[in-house]
Each structure stands twice: as structure tokens, then as C-alpha cells.
């Protein structure tokens, strides 16, 4: 049974908009979405080209895990939302038949303690940025008003993230930053496996993802093992 969530609070929306507007480069963007939509948690990630797939912020570890699963598997509601430029709204992820368009991610997401999952695309014109994923503990739907509000907030967040990415372009002769959700180690591991197997790094990434999937672990965990030399791939 779907229950409308408290997403119609105008003060919450106004407050969220102001918070996003005032956010500095290192500030958390997720709290504004949680407040405005009245959900249990949120995560924001850049996805695909040009910004690369990496989580930017998460309001809690469950939110972070929701995005990590989809980044690892390369499928899921956040990817669909970005591709279609439309929100993907699942009021009950546990329901039989939900998530048929992304079977691998669907299964992994169902194993989490979440009910509703709502993915909104982040983009600026033609430029894809990523997505913001909102989840609720219990099943429920977002009201039309909440969907509109989050869409506006997402547009602001998109520009903020893009601006931040541009600001970081000052010196391109550096590697990646090492934030809490950095995929830096994953790329380093791809390089190591590329050398181990004499293949291209993109193919090495597939090897890592395959191992992650078959062992039921995250790509980040596999990468950590590779970099620590606990795990080596041989031909």
C-alpha cells in the first residue's frame, strides 16, 4: 500500500534550496534532499562520462551502499534515470517484479533494508553529471509536488557539482582526489591487473568487476586486495 510522504512542506523546500545555494566546495549536498523530500536517506554520485563514476556524498552508509552497488554493476535506477533524463520511482523495491530492467542491481538492492527508492538524474544541458538517489525504510511514494521539488533541487546540485569539477581542473597533471568515496584505488587496481594480464585497463576493470560479482564483494574491496597485493590475477 502506497502512502504519500511528507514532501509538500514549502519551508523544507525553500530551506533545501537555500542550503544548496550556499553550499561550498566540500559541503554535503545530501542533507538538503533528505529534508526536502522527507526520505530516510540520500546519496549523490557522478556517473559515466565525463565526470566518472564516483559517489560524491551520502547521508548514511545505507545510501552509500545503494550507489556503490549500482556503480559496481554499471546498472540500476540511477543509470536509467541519467540515461532517460527522467526520475525513476520505485515505491517498493522489495515487491515482486520491481527492478526488472536492472536484474543484477535489483537483486543486490533488495538485499538491503529499504522500501522505496527514487533516482533523479543530474545533468546540465547536454552534459551528464550523475544522479541523486533517495530511499525510504518503508515502502511509499513521493507526491507529485515532492517529485517537482527534487527535480529543481537536482538541477541546482548538478550545476554545483559541475562547477566543483571545473574548479578541480586547475592542474590536470595530478591523479584523483582521495575522498571517502574515492574510486582512486579501483583505477590503480585496474592498472595493476592490466600489467598482470597484459590487457588494457578497461578490460582489467571488467576482470575486477567480474571477480567482485562472483565473490559477492564490492569492486572497492577487490581493488583494495589487489593494491595490497593480497590478490593477484595471472594468465
Amino acid at each position: 500500500m502506497d502512502a504519500a510522504l511528507p514532501g509538500d512542506d514549502r519551508h523544507a523546500f525553500s530551506d533545501a534550496l537555500s542550503r544548496l545555494a550556499a553550499a561550498g566546495p566540500g559541503d554535503d549536498l545530501c542533507a538538503a534532499f533528505v529534508g526536502a523530500a522527507g526520505v530516510s536517506g540520500a546519496a549523490i554520485s557522478t556517473l559515466g562520462r565525463p565526470l566518472g563514476s564516483q559517489t560524491v556524498c551520502a547521508s548514511n552508509s545505507l545510501g552509500a551502499r545503494i550507489d556503490e552497488i549500482q556503480i559496481d554493476l554499471g546498472e540500476g535506477p540511477c543509470w536509467e534515470a541519467l540515461r532517460t533524463r527522467l526520475p525513476v520511482l520505485e515505491s517498493d523495491i522489495q515487491r515482486e517484479g520491481s527492478g526488472l530492467r536492472w536484474p543484477g542491481a535489483g537483486e543486490a538492492l533488495r538485499a538491503l533494508d529499504i522500501g522505496g527508492l527514487f533516482a533523479f538524474p543530474l545533468f546540465v544541458g547536454d552534459l551528464s553529471v550523475g544522479s541523486v538517489d533517495l530511499y525510504t525504510h518503508e515502502p511509499g511514494s513521493l507526491s507529485q509536488g515532492a517529485v517537482e521539488d527534487v527535480t529543481v533541487l537536482a538541477a541546482v546540485a548538478s550545476r554545483h557539482i559541475l562547477r566543483r569539477a571545473l574548479d578541480l581542473l586547475e592542474d590536470t597533471e595530478e591523479g584523483m582526489d582521495d575522498g571517502p568515496y574515492s574510486r582512486r584505488e579501483v583505477h590503480q587496481a585496474s592498472g595493476m591487473v592490466a600489467a598482470q594480464l597484459a590487457i588494457a585497463p578497461d578490460d582489467a576493470m571488467l576482470v575486477l568487476r567480474g571477480r567482485a560479482f562472483s565473490s559477492g564483494r564490492s569492486v572497492g574491496a577487490i581493488a583494495a586486495d589487489v593494491v595490497a597485493r593480497r590478490l593477484t590475477f595471472t594468465r
Partner: protein, 235 residues
């Protein structure tokens, strides 16, 4: 909810829509001042904006009268609208008859304009003050607190819109440039991993080796990294 609140929310929604779609800055600002004159206890409204080259100009106004007063302040170089931009703070003049001491050059022009009071709100985003939203009134007195706060919210949204639109317009956001810069960060991490594996080094030492090679050969780090992972270059 009162009709006035409805109007305010509609204006917020329309302004917010401009964040989602491509829009013309001047069109949106014209809409904003017209809505301000309708919704708030104001007779007229005008916006002073700094052009990308740094000059202040009256970009839109609801009437010739408010246009003139803005212009006059620019010519005089002093006055509430200008001060709001320069100080980044709200300048509220409850009675324009009593500004002789504060802004002597502006005082006579203010009297001739026929306006009785003026509320100037800086348009700012953190440290960037890009202009001011100015509400002109026919009666003496301060703008009430609720209207002042709501007008500030509209000013904030308009500020974000303008700044982000300028950001998009700048060719800095050429997608290709962004793509290349971000790709090179990934490739540098991959190359670190590759060298770490092939030369049995830790990541930092691997990076130093790559960087030293780039310097010695006066090549870009990202190009050296790319050659390493493609197998073209063996260090």
C-alpha cells in the same frame, strides 16, 4: 494559504523552472521584478547587475521611474542600490527624504523620483555579489520582515540562475575539455598501478618514476601515463 503566498510560491516555481531549462537571463529577471512589484508591498522594482566585464548596469525594471533612480545612483556612484552591491548587505531606507547626510549626491535625485522608501537586497552567492534587487515604495516605512525574507529568497534563486548560466556560457565548459581533463586523472592512477606492478614499487614511488620520466622528456604527465597503460612505453 493566502493568495499572496500562492503568488510567491508560483514565482519561486517559475524562477526555479528557469534553473531546469535553458533561459534568457534578462527575460527571467524581468519576470522577477514584475512579480516582486505584484507580490510585495512595493510600487516598482529594478535590478542592478554587474556585467561579466564588471560594470554595474540597470538590467531590468518595472517602470521608468525605478530605472531612472538606478541610473542616477550609477552616475552619482552612491546610493542604496549601489551600496547593497558594494557592501553585500541589505540597505533599507524607510524614508527617502532623510538621506541627505548618508548620500548627499543621491538625495536630490531621490526626492525628485517621487518614491518614498527603498529596500535594496544584494544578489550574492557566498563572496560573489553580482548585483542588487531593489524594491521601491510610494509610502514611507520599512519593508515588513516576511516580504523582506521572501524577496531575499527570490534574489538568491535569481543569483544562482545567473551565475550558473554564465558558467555554462563560458567555453570553459567545452565538454571535450572537461572530458579530457578528467580522463587524464583516471589514466594517471591506472599508470601508477601499472608501474607499481611491473616494477614492484609502491604507488608513491611509481608516481615519482612516471613524473621524473615526464620531466626529463618534457612530456605531459597524462600523455606518459597514457603511453604506459597502452603498452607503447615501458619504463
Amino acid at each position: 494559504m493566502s493568495t499572496r503566498e500562492d503568488q510567491l510560491l508560483r514565482t519561486v516555481a517559475t524562477l526555479a523552472d528557469s534553473l531546469v531549462d535553458d533561459f534568457d537571463v534578462v527575460d527571467v529577471l524581468q519576470l522577477l521584478v514584475e512579480e516582486c512589484a505584484t507580490i510585495f508591498d512595493a510600487t516598482a522594482a529594478g535590478i542592478l547587475l554587474r556585467s561579466p566585464t564588471g560594470q554595474l548596469e540597470v538590467i531590468v525594471s518595472t517602470s521608468e521611474r525605478s530605472e531612472l533612480i538606478g541610473l542616477m545612483q550609477l552616475r552619482a556612484g552612491e546610493g542604496p542600490c549601489v551600496e547593497a552591491v558594494e557592501s553585500g548587505r541589505v540597505v533599507s531606507v524607510r524614508d527617502l527624504k532623510h538621506v541627505q547626510d548618508r548620500w548627499p549626491k543621491f538625495a536630490a535625485d531621490a526626492r525628485r523620483s517621487g518614491f518614498a522608501a527603498l529596500h535594496a537586497i544584494p544578489m550574492r552567492l557566498r563572496d560573489a555579489v553580482i548585483g542588487s534587487l531593489n524594491l521601491f515604495r510610494d509610502r514611507v516605512g520599512e519593508l515588513n520582515g516576511i516580504d523582506a525574507a521572501a524577496a531575499k529568497t527570490l534574489a538568491d534563486i535569481a543569483t544562482i540562475s545567473i551565475l550558473q548560466q554564465r558558467l555554462i556560457d563560458e567555453s570553459l565548459i567545452a565538454q571535450g575539455q572537461l572530458q579530457r581533463a578528467l580522463d587524464s586523472r583516471v589514466i594517471i592512477e591506472q599508470a601508477k598501478g601499472y608501474i607499481s606492478q611491473s616494477r614492484s614499487l609502491d604507488m608513491d614511488s611509481a608516481f615519482q618514476l612516471i613524473r621524473a620520466y615526464a620531466r626529463t622528456n618534457q612530456s605531459r604527465l597524462s600523455e606518459v601515463a597514457s603511453d604506459i597503460v597502452s603498452g607503447k612505453l615501458a619504463l
